[in-house]
């Protein structure tokens, strides 16, 4: 990136990509003392050209790079692409497969939010404890993933027309047990972190994003819901079994970093409710239809929108009757939220110490922004 002009009397700090809290991106900060005047995000360090890669792959093998757009939130990434292919090709999914997908998606969402939650603790300097606790608790979900899908992170589990494997024996009991355990653990998180007076000091009133600004700047996911706007693709455009289970959209009105953290916290609670309902009343039946791995999709286009852990993920799929997609446009949530992050220094008074807190409150996953 060519660096934009710098004003006199400010110092420009290059924050990342080698920085403890930057992730795979670079942020330029124009600072005057502790005060940050301008944030410039420099993305593209992990640009792999997934949109181009998908054009050269069959629909089945395209699922794999899509899986790797956000490793921590694999299921929610691939469900978007798989849903788009199913819509375009008109493939029916068996009922049980839909419920299993919803289960895996919610587990993936908990995994993603737990990671974000731990990083939020880490970014306020709450150095060791909560991040490692979330790591331990994610282990339980990863074990469930391993048992169900065979892989812990980038399980390539969904395909157009169902899921690869049925639930193993005793899996439902394990899910219920994990739900019970995680519910117990969240009391500790709430007391040790969210209600910690110093954590409140660091997060309350920081980086306020008014609802009208959130809409104008195109925020999505927990950032949008933390500003009090209840837009959630799982309810607005129900896919899979989200229409059949009971849950609610979480919003917070405080519009600040703490509101986003709380949204994530309560969304984990809702996801646990969904997991419990699915484990209790999942219907019987087949989990996959007969689908050719080298299928051709008739010419047309369709848009699928799903709610990933970081916000709305959209796939705009253009097909031309061959075995490969003609073009896939991925509307990634992190790219949208990064723009919000760039503008936050103009809307608020932001200090250097707030930067890691704000970054992690929007929970970026740069591989998903760069694609």
């Amino acid at each position: 990136m060519r660096e934009p002009m710098i004003k006199p009397d400010v110092m420009r700090i290059s924050w990342g990509p080698q920085h403890p809290m930057s992730g795979q991106t670079r942020i330029l900060l124009d600072v005057d003392g502790e005060r940050v005047h301008r944030i410039i995000a420099d993305l593209g360090f992990t640009h792999r050209g997934i949109e181009k890669i998908l054009e050269n792959r069959t629909f089945f093998s395209g699922i794999i790079p899509v899986d790797r757009m956000a490793m921590v939130d694999t299921a929610n990434m691939s469900i978007g692409y798989v849903t788009a292919i199913e819509k375009a090709a008109g493939i029916e999914v068996p009922e049980r497969a839909k419920w299993i997908r919803t289960l895996v998606c919610e587990m993936s969402r908990i995994n993603s939010h737990l990671y974000a939650f731990g990083l939020q603790a880490e970014s306020t300097g709450y150095f060791p404890a909560v991040f490692l606790w979330t790591t331990v608790d994610r282990e339980i979900l990863l074990d469930l993933f391993e048992e169900l899908t065979g892989a812990r992170w980038s399980f390539n589990f969904f395909f157009p027309g169902g899921v690869h494997q049925d639930l193993p024996d005793g899996f439902r009991e394990k899910v219920l047990k994990a739900v019970k355990y995680l519910r117990g653990r969240f009391k500790d998180y709430w007391g040790a972190m969210v209600e910690n007076p110093l954590f409140e000091n660091r997060c309350n009133g920081v980086a306020i994003l008014e609802p009208k600004d959130a809409l104008r700047l195109g925020a999505t996911g927990p950032v949008l819901r933390g500003s009090g706007i209840d837009i959630d693709m799982r309810r607005d455009e129900p896919y899979d079994a989200y229409g059949d289970v009971e849950w609610e959209v979480i919003t917070e009105d405080a519009c600040d970093v703490m509101a986003r953290t709380k949204v994530r916290f309560h969304e984990i609670g809702q996801a646990l409710n969904i997991m419990e309902q699915i484990a209790q009343k999942i219907p019987d039946g087949p989990v996959k239809g007969r689908v050719n791995a080298f299928m051709r999709v008739p010419e047309g286009e369709c848009i699928s929108r799903v709610e990933a852990g970081r916000g709305e993920l959209g796939f705009h799929l253009f097909t031309n009757g061959t075995g490969n997609p003609y073009r896939v446009k991925i509307n990634s949530p992190t790219l949208r939220n990064m723009y919000v992050f760039e503008r936050l220094a103009e809307l608020n008074e932001v200090f250097i110490a707030d930067i890691p807190v704000i970054i992690n409150s929007i929970d970026p996953w740069y591989l998903d922004a760069d694609r």
């Binding site: 069959t58 093998s61 074990d143 169900l148």
Partner: protein, 156 residues
Amino acid sequence: MNWLRKMLKPLMIVAPYVLRNSQTVAYPTERLMFFDRFRGRHVFHLDRCISCGICARVCPDASIELVEIEGKDKKYPQIDYNTCCFCGYCVEHCPKQALEFTDIVEFATADRSELVYSPERLMEVPDIKEILPMMKRRTEAYLTDKEMKYRKVKDV
């Protein structure tokens, strides 16, 4: 006083953790049991293979190539683990279950060319004790209401 209680509450929550069990596995001496579906290195059954080539066609990373082996007139899959992403398509689409997954994940090498596994090498599954000579036992995780615990399954 309310303020003081609020300050002390996180301390009261964190302090008991010091007495808890650690939730880690001492990896080279203990190794977790992996689940049945775990996708580790492949094992190849030569007698079942019909050389249909579906695995090579379905492989998203073009890691599988059909090669000739000595003494056979047909071609058999060779897997390049430099690029394999363990997606599982080859195992799932194999009509005769000639390719299967094992739970071996320790096959790092110093030389990239050693990661290309010929059909003969794919047929052998080394004993875990050969790969990890320091390994003493295999453990398994289980969940109680309060914490995750590990118990010994067997000595190696």
